[in-house]
């Protein structure tokens, strides 16, 4: 709160200096409502904001025997669409998928590190790293990234989907920016569109049964539909029409990509074509 007030006071001061106007009396700085009335700050005195590229919505759904990940292809910087072919769902090894929302550059660097770390372990030790070991490693890189995230750049939130050979089932984990890890029983999502569609997951699971009990093709259809809704509700989410989303899944046999043609057919049938 302290810093919000400080920020506000600085903005107010600058605005007054530049426009010669004062704020209406009912806008009390520091009580919340003042923020709403703050005019967009002209920025010649500021450094230009760092335009960081962000990935938007990724969704992880369990299906019978594994986990499906779907992500739109859009990457944004402020309100500009920077890239519409971003791949935010990346295999880390044959049993693990990572889905990335947030700072694209930092996330890709971390993914490159994790891929090498997991493969290096498996190749040099002649056995794959345990699921717990991989999850810890993701926590560690997020914790190391925290100073960056606090300074306003490089914040990203991953969802980790894995096939767990001990339970013979798919598992989904999500993280916060400080590296805390949580497991989710049926589905997870991250990115700007994720919060908007939260209720839809619940609705589908409660009306049609848990995702983890349904076959892959049904769950894939639900995932594409969810992404479509996210794009309707969130300007930063790329959706399913212009460029096909990415869809990958992991099960006992490994990590696989859903072919673009399959996705195209699915989108056409969702559009009633």
């Amino acid at each position: 709160m302290e810093s919000l007030q400080g920020d506000f006071a600085r903005l107010l001061h600058r605005w007054q200096a530049q426009t010669g106007m004062t704020l209406p009396l009912f806008a009390t700085p520091g009580k919340g409502e003042g923020r709403l009335l703050t005019p967009p700050a002209p920025t010649p005195l500021d450094k230009p904001p760092l335009l960081e590229v962000h990935g938007t919505t990724v969704i992880a759904l369990k299906f019978k025997g594994g986990v499906l990940n779907v992500g739109d292809r859009r990457a944004t910087a402020a309100n500009a669409v920077m890239y519409d072919r971003a791949d935010k769902i990346i295999p880390l090894d044959d049993y693990t998928l990572i889905a990335i929302a947030g700072a694209y550059g930092r996330a890709m660097e971390v993914v490159r590190y994790l891929r090498h770390a997991f493969k290096y372990y498996a190749r040099s030790q002649l056995q794959p790293m345990s699921l717990e070991g991989k999850l810890q490693e993701v926590s560690r890189v997020l914790a190391a990234n925290l100073p960056n995230a606090l300074s306003g750049i490089g914040l990203f939130i991953p969802i980790l989907s894995a096939y767990d050979p001990n339970q013979d089932a798919g598992r989904i984990f999500f993280y916060d920016a400080s590296g805390a890890r949580f497991e989710t029983p049926d589905y997870g999502a991250a990115g700007s569109g994720a919060e908007r569609i939260r209720g839809v997951f619940d609705y589908i699971a409660k009306t049609k049964g848990a995702f983890s009990e349904r076959p892959l093709d049904e769950v894939l259809r639900e995932a594409i539909l969810l992404l479509d809704i996210a794009a309707d509700l969130d300007a930063a989410t790329g959706g399913i029409d212009k460029v096909m989303p990415t869809a990958r899944y992991v099960n006992r046999e490994g990590v696989f990509e859903v072919p673009e043609a399959t996705l195209r057919e699915l989108v056409q049938s969702l559009r009633g074509g």
Partner: protein, 250 residues
Amino acid sequence: MLTPYDFQENLQQRAQYIRNRLQAGSPVIGISYDNGIMLLTTRRRGRKVFEIYDRLMLSAIGNQADVETLRVAAIDFAHQEGFVRSPDDVTVQRVVGFALSPALKKAFGDPLTTPFVVRALFAELHDTPERDLFYILNYDGEFTPAERFAVIAGTTGAEDLAIRHLTESLNGTPTFEKAIPVALVAWGIAREAALQEDRDAIPESQARERLREELQEAQLEVGLLERKTLRENRFRLIPPEQLQGYLRHL
């Protein structure tokens, strides 16, 4: 009796010592086939075919600890290079020629260290079989590239005989199903020729017999790097039950 130190004699003795110890090693046959590249050998105890990097694998004969040192050095170099630059910059030519060969040469030439007892075969996968590469790395740091197929065995004579068999049996790029039986016979020839020196030919029947005998105590090991695969890792070991079919017609 004290004799003046003779550099050449020292090297010859070391080489002789290593060659004697390599002679009993189980040969490794490498063949590049249409959808990948394979290394075939037998094992009695630990693993013999190892993944080094995304498109690179290794098998070797020699002292287990020396093979392990070589393997870990190759993996370390490849991953550092792949992370700092890119996976495309990890090539067998650089791993063998730059990272490993000078160290082997140094250990071999230094009278105060034990030399490596090792002869290694690297296989590097490319987009087409014509561009696949094998590298044979010797205990003294010498290395030789090869295309299409390559053999390491207990003696160079045995390698030559196995290569002759591969040259005669493989015209063009084989399929996996065609390559395995040829590799099995080549293994038998190389093994038999290494055990009985000074043979200028080994009949196929004798080679098969040798392999049958070996498989009573040992297990076949085949490692692949697959050219087209949906899996994230191109490397895999073929499960033994999948090889049973090929052994029935031995």
